[in-house]
């Protein structure tokens, strides 16, 4: 009897701890939405999302330039990160000799571990001045952000794509070799197509990391809420908008508008996580 009771208690306690992450998600939704929705209702969702002007002093809250900024910097970063990341993943899974793999894999983990504020700092001290000198002012630009964020998305893409490639059954590869295909032909025509949905999941989660990135973005993007005309123009992504202004936004519509920005960001990220989950289960 004594044993049965302690078994029962242990299982319930463990279940409770397992439920905590779900509870936290619920709390995040509750706190962020309840603080931001009143403003969206007041301004109107359309005006908030598609308004061209962000002037907290005049209580004008339109986040369209920031939405565009976030999308542009993410697309550009992915143009660098996806080819580089997928190629590296293929290299790790198929080509790399043991010794190289033993260097490259910890290196990827290290890239993942470096704090975003450190990436931002290197971008600020190295990349921004280079762009300012050789390509033109101000240096704080879409281009600088795309490069820094591309590097930050690499570990996510590499790790998930490598897992997807390694999950392709060995028999597929052997069949292709048996038909006389070269290693590269096998990679291109057999392994990559079979691993596609897993690789896409990595790309989606990598984009999520770029969209949600805050510190590195603030430090190199210039933070001006305007739609950029060139790669060398500054932008302000959604994340920076919150981080820059929360410190001084007084209680009231301004602070509500920052939480409302958070709602938009949260919805976008959550959609990406749902898609990635689907893709990964599809494999």
């Amino acid at each position: 009897m004594h044993h049965k009771l302690s078994e029962w208690v242990a299982e319930r306690l463990l279940l409770a701890t397992a439920m905590v992450s779900v509870v936290i998600i619920a709390f995040i939704i509750w706190t962020v939405f309840s603080a931001g929705l009143p403003l969206i209702n007041e301004v109107g969702a359309f005006n908030f999302l598609f308004g061209m002007e962000w002037r907290p002093g005049r209580e004008t809250f339109g986040i369209f330039p920031m939405l565009v900024g976030t999308l542009l910097v993410t697309a550009l970063a992915m143009m660098i990160s996806v080819p580089l990341g997928v190629l590296t993943a293929v290299f790790l899974a198929e080509i790399a000799p043991e010794s190289v793999r033993n260097i490259l894999r910890p290196a990827t983990e290290l890239l993942h571990g470096i704090p975003s504020v450190v990436y931002g700092f290197v971008g600020l001290m190295l990349l921004v001045p280079l762009i300012r000198t050789y390509l033109g002012p101000p240096g704080f630009s879409l281009l600088a952000g795309a490069i820094v964020l591309a590097i930050m998305a690499l570990p996510t893409i590499i790790t998930i794509a490598e897992d997807a490639i390694k999950a392709v059954p060995r028999s597929y590869k052997e069949a292709s070799f048996a038909l006389g295909a070269t290693h590269w032909q096998t990679i291109r025509n057999v392994i990559l197509p079979a691993a596609l949905s897993g690789i896409l999941a990595g790309v989606v989660l990598g984009s999520g990391r770029v969209i949600g990135e805050t510190m590195a973005a603030i430090m190199v993007l210039g933070n001006i809420p305007r739609i950029p005309a060139s790669l060398l123009d500054p932008i302000r992504p959604l994340t920076s908008n919150i981080a820059l202004e929360m410190a001084y936004a007084p209680l009231g519509p301004h602070r509500q508008a920052l939480f409302a920005t958070g709602i938009v960001l949260f919805i976008v990220i959550s959609l990406l996580i749902f898609i990635a989950d689907r893709l990964r289960r599809g494999q």
Partner: protein
């Protein structure tokens, strides 16, 4: 091009991509170390900041970082380990396990600035803790929870089924088996996850900015505001250009890099010993 030339070109391109990734990492590390390592000495580590951080050391920032890490680990480790045990030993194919796993994955993808908003609204304002290391530590705990759950699950998965079978054969109950056999052999793997969590917590900035504040003195209680190293680095970097501030920013960046290095290295060392001892 013949298939064999193609093969050679393709393999060359794959090598180039991998080397480029390595070169990027090396460039970042070398750049920071060259400019920052000279700044780090006893006075930098144990000294108090002067002139708004442009002079002197970063001792209070180190203490700030350590205190939020301790709080975060103290809260996240038991919950995450418990959750990991439940998912791998108890949940089975229960529909609830799918929901819990997805919740943890979702949590892992939420950007840190959203955690910051949540922490600000909930811990700082709603619970009335104010900008404090307690609020920051709790938010960090939420942020590293998924990683703790995941590494616990992986560590438990690596425990051979024969261990469990042997324990049951001796008449042990499920909880006795889990707590005395499974957990014991999974402990090194779980520890690895916690160490990596420390690395992540040390570098976290956006959520910290909204929950801990940026007060430069030594924290005296759980409800003190503080300025962890990551936030200090940001504030120095974006303040007006000043030689002393820039030098100290580089020094702080190298300190953060060292913490991440140390965490990754010790995690690796533990993993290696652990896998050897299992064989």
């Amino acid at each position: 091009m013949s298939p064999y030339t193609r093969e050679k070109v393709a393999i060359a391109v794959l090598w180039a991509a991998a080397l480029l990734v390595l070169a990027g990492l090396l460039a970042i590390i070398i750049f920071l170390v060259i400019r920052g390592i000279g700044v780090i000495d006893a006075e930098f580590i144990f000294g108090m900041p002067r002139a708004g951080g442009r002079d002197g050391g970063i001792f209070p920032m180190i203490v700030g970082t350590l205190s939020i890490i301790v709080i975060a680990i103290a809260v996240a480790a038991p919950i995450g380990i418990g959750g990991g045990i439940y998912l791998s030993e108890y949940a089975g194919r229960h529909p609830l396990s799918r929901i819990i796993t997805f919740g943890a994955e979702w949590l892992a993808g939420v950007p840190s600035i959203i955690f910051g908003l949540f922490g600000f609204a909930f811990f700082v304002v709603f619970l009335g803790w104010g900008l404090s290391i307690l609020a920051g530590g709790m938010v960090l705990a939420c942020m590293i929870l998924n990683e703790t759950i995941r590494t616990t699950q992986e560590a438990i998965k690596a425990v051979p089924t024969s261990y469990r079978a042997a324990s049951y054969a001796l008449g042990a109950t499920k909880w006795q088996t889990v707590s005395r056999v499974v957990l014991k052999s999974a402990a090194p793997g779980i520890l690895t996850g916690i160490i990596l969590g420390i690395g992540r917590a040390a570098g976290e900035t956006a959520a910290i900015m909204l929950t801990v504040g940026s007060f430069m003195a030594l924290p005296t209680s759980l409800f003190s505001s503080a300025r962890p190293m990551s936030l200090h680095l940001y504030l120095l970097a974006v303040s007006e250009v000043h030689e002393g501030a820039v030098a100290r920013a580089f020094g702080t960046a190298v300190m953060l890099l060292l913490i991440v290095f140390a965490a990754n290295l010790s995690a690796h060392a533990i993993t290696r010993r652990f896998t050897r001892s299992l064989r």
